[in-house]
Subunit: 199 residues, 2 copies
């Protein structure tokens, strides 16, 4: 099965701009990508990075600077999996559970209505990442007569967009992004009853 | 196995005070509790609600107005499961996966470092819900020689504290809390690319 990992490194992670400058956000985005590629490689897949710009990494790279939806659909040749590049808690177990689940379309929902990873085994299905894509994907699958299964995974539900998401990486990951955050001076502060980020 | 569902209905869900008045937050807290009790009942458990105040509901109620940690530890007679009362996405599949996992201590981590559900099968283990309880529970288990397993579940990771959490309930649940939110006029708005709440 082909595995696409879309990656858009221009002005990445703007919602972290209060914590990290552009160079740091760019580094973090790459470390997150490498974590996803490492996990895919560990379970025997050879992913293709679908990038808006040329990129050096341990995977094939296809450059396509169209929107996420258009670029993915242009390269969606079922069976294909699409795994977001910023799943900071991703594990081999979580992705194997996704890939091993039967269904024409298998979705790992993301927080906020996103579709963080999916497997497409139906020729008629197309992605649409705008808005509440989980709802749109359920409807699109029904429209083309494709069965849908959903995976219940916290590790696939969390993509890294907001400062609070970095707390989760420090709590639950020992990957490259977590190591980079620690090297950049981030620690967890639990003195106020809730877990917050300190630097 | 005993199942405890701690419930503290005084001034509930204060982080939703910008959206819901006290009566509404109290109603929502109860609907969330009933959803958790319904799911436990559907898979054959007879939970005990460990409540800070007397309460009418379809389950045994034990009143204990101490802190969450103290009250749970006072009633922790292994094997016992502890399931939070505000898991708005809870399903039978998610709880069965938790209960069916071997381990002296089996934890379903919550967003922000919480421990949203756990099974305790080791006599020496005690809970501590303050701060990043997931980390403390890992350490406490190691201290008493108990094995720890973690469950990767989005549906158990989400407890309902913040306005964004209500988005997840409307996207992924058809339980009583979701029905109440709809009856209270909440809908999802996807016009701006992100999913937000409207009323």
């Amino acid at each position: 099965m082909d595995v696409l990992v879309p990656f858009a490194p221009r002005e990445p992670k703007t919602r972290l701009a209060g914590l990290l400058d552009l160079d740091e956000r760019t580094t973090l985005a790459h470390e997150l990508l490498y974590d996803v590629l490492d996990v895919l490689s560990a379970i025997g897949y050879e992913p293709t990075v679908l990038a808006t710009d040329p990129l050096e990494c341990d995977a094939s790279v296809v450059v396509d600077d169209r929107s996420l939806t258009d670029a993915v659909n242009a390269h969606l040749d079922a069976p294909t999996a699409v795994v977001m590049a910023d799943l900071g808690l991703v594990t081999t177990d979580a992705l194997e559970r996704l890939f091993d689940t039967d269904g024409d379309v298998v979705i790992a929902p993301g927080l906020g209505g996103g579709t963080n990873a999916l497997v497409v085994r139906h020729e008629g299905f197309r992605v649409d990442y705008h808005g509440a894509s989980i709802r749109d994907h359920r409807h699109h699958a029904a429209d083309v007569g494709a069965t849908v299964e959903e995976i219940d995974s916290f590790r696939l539900a969390l993509d890294i967009d907001e400062p609070d998401d970095l707390v989760e990486v420090l709590l639950h990951s020992d990957g490259r992004a977590a190591a980079w955050l620690e090297s950049a001076g981030f620690t967890l502060d639990t003195r106020r009853g809730r877990v917050t980020l300190s630097r």
